[in-house]
């Protein structure tokens, strides 16, 4: 549905209002920002299981033989190397190597793919596929009818086991499978954006309220808003599209070069190779404040008296109890070096640190290291 301000809403709007959520626009959608409070919700996901309404994100279904056509050229992921039932994170780039979107690819079978994209970029992404994709027999935008709920937290496997049986335990990190639930055969992947053990559940929109209710009936599960989703992902140093990465940044600058397969062709590769040769002009850098004070978006980064860049994401870290932030810095500053993050009258002393900020996430628990 679309309201008078042109904002779209998810099938759960009535439920969010009932739960007392604070609602705000995000990516063209009216979304829940918080329920009980960002810090409490954040901590709940780190210790139990939190449920997120992620119906705003976009999903495309594509049928394309990996060896024919150019689907692989539109993405930095090597599709031919993906086993069926695998998920991969990667990028769609423009010719300059700028990031059109960051996305997840699901390999459903030999030639069937689901691509999951950001809400605000969804329409543009689809147009990009329509314009450039060749050799595909199907290209369908199912965002309108397919909803998504994320269940994240160390207890999320236990919660899903109650609904699905022990089969869910076999699902490994960054893989998915089909499960029967509420009369539907749905995709559930062991993926997420919080650093915790967790799942993303793809359910037709008309059954999303039923699934939401069923999961919230479990005492271990609480609803979590986009406010805590943001602090959880920032503690993991995950980039947020539109804020940390966009068309003016490349994966190399963002420190995400490991999500590029250089052994294949893709749009933007030549530009990235040039950047690789000449060295990146700026790189994403993580900062740990020396107090509870939060760096904020657009705070300047001062190193040895020089303005060397700006903070793209910053917040109070509920898990660490101090301010954290990240932003692009000219050249490279060594780990442990002191910087000042400054916005207006506020100056925060901080030091350069490695990612992620939060190192105790349960996302890969049970995996062979």
């Amino acid at each position: 549905m679309i309201d008078s301000q042109g904002l779209k809403d998810t099938p759960l709007l009535a439920s969010h209002k009932e739960l007392g959520a604070k609602l705000a626009p995000f990516g063209g959608w009216l979304m829940p920002i918080q329920y009980s409070g960002i810090v409490e919700e954040h901590n709940w996901v780190r210790k139990s299981a939190g449920l997120f309404d992620i119906c705003h994100m976009g999903e495309f279904m594509i049928q394309a033989e990996p060896s024919r056509g150019n689907l692989g050229n539109l993405l930095t992921i090597n599709l031919e190397k993906m086993p069926e039932g695998a998920c991969r994170y990667g990028f769609m780039l423009d010719e300059q190597g700028g990031i059109i979107d960051d996305l997840l690819v699901y390999r459903i079978d030999n030639s069937g793919w689901m691509i999951v994209v950001n809400a605000a970029t969804s329409e543009g992404d689809f147009e990009h596929f329509e314009k450039h994709l060749t050799g595909a027999t199907t290209l369908e935008n199912v965002s309108q009818s397919l909803g998504k709920l994320d269940l994240q937290g160390p207890l999320s496997t236990d919660v899903l086991e109650n609904l699905l049986g022990p089969g869910i335990r076999g699902l490994r990190y960054y893989t998915f499978s089909y499960f029967n639930l509420l009369g539907e055969r749905i995709i559930i992947s062991r993926t997420g954006y919080t650093g915790e053990l967790g799942y993303e559940l793809y359910m037709p929109n008309d059954k999303i309220p039923q699934l939401w209710g069923k999961l919230l009936n479990d005492q271990r599960v609480k609803p979590i808003g986009l406010g805590a989703r943001d602090t959880l992902r920032l503690e993991m140093s995950y980039s947020l599209y539109g804020q940390d990465i966009d068309k003016d940044t490349t994966p190399l600058e963002a420190g995400l070069g490991n999500f590029i397969d250089w052994n294949k062709e893709f749009i933007g590769k030549n530009s990235l190779l040039k950047q690789k040769q000449s060295g990146v002009f700026r790189r994403m850098t993580c900062f740990l404040a020396d107090s509870r004070r939060s760096p904020r978006h657009n705070y300047r980064i001062i190193y040895k008296g020089q303005d060397v860049g700006a903070v793209t994401s910053g917040s109070f870290s509920p898990s660490l109890g101090i301010g954290i932030g990240m932003g692009y810095v000219k050249d490279q500053i060594a780990l442990g070096e002191q910087v000042v993050l400054s916005g207006g009258s506020i100056s925060i002393n901080a030091k350069v640190t490695s990612k992620p900020f939060y190192k105790n996430g349960s996302a890969k628990s049970g995996e062979i290291k």
Binding site: K22, Q34, G37, I38, V39, E40, G227, T231, S291, R292, R293, S294, R296, S315, F316, P318, G323, I346
Partner: protein, 129 residues
């Protein structure tokens, strides 16, 4: 919305409790609720002079930093340093353990620019319409 009767209020959602020539100040329940989880506070130091409607503290929530203005002019006698490590007390108890500072009032006449609880309640109700 909790608005105690024995306090006076500003349009910027600070409260003040006057006892003789002393005043305890803080932010209202409405303010803490709008800010959400408060994660940091910068308090005035004892001995500092604060002026009515001028900066006296900064609070930060997960989402933003906000300035707090002094409801009355005076000299800071004591700051609630407990808040430095536990700013969440402001969310839990805005009028009690979440107090900001105790000041020695410079000019009690400034009281006339503050609202009583009935006026503040009407003011807040007007904002949410």
């Amino acid at each position: 919305m909790n608005i105690p009767e024995n306090l006076l209020y500003t349009k910027d959602h600070e409260w003040v409790k006057i006892e003789g020539d002393r005043a305890t100040i803080g932010i209202t329940d409405f303010a803490q609720h709008s800010l959400g989880d408060i994660t940091f506070i910068d308090l005035p130091k004892p001995g500092a002079k604060v002026e009515q409607s001028k900066w006296c503290a900064t609070v930060e929530s997960v989402k933003a930093a906000s300035d707090v203005y002094a409801p009355l002019s005076g000299e800071v006698l004591e700051a609630n340093t407990e808040l430095t490590d536990h700013p969440e007390l402001i969310n839990k108890s805005a009028y009690d353990t979440g107090w900001f500072a105790l000041i020695k009032i410079a000019d009690l006449g400034e009281k006339s620019r503050l609202m009583n609880s009935v006026q503040y309640k009407e003011y807040v109700q007007g904002l949410s319409k």
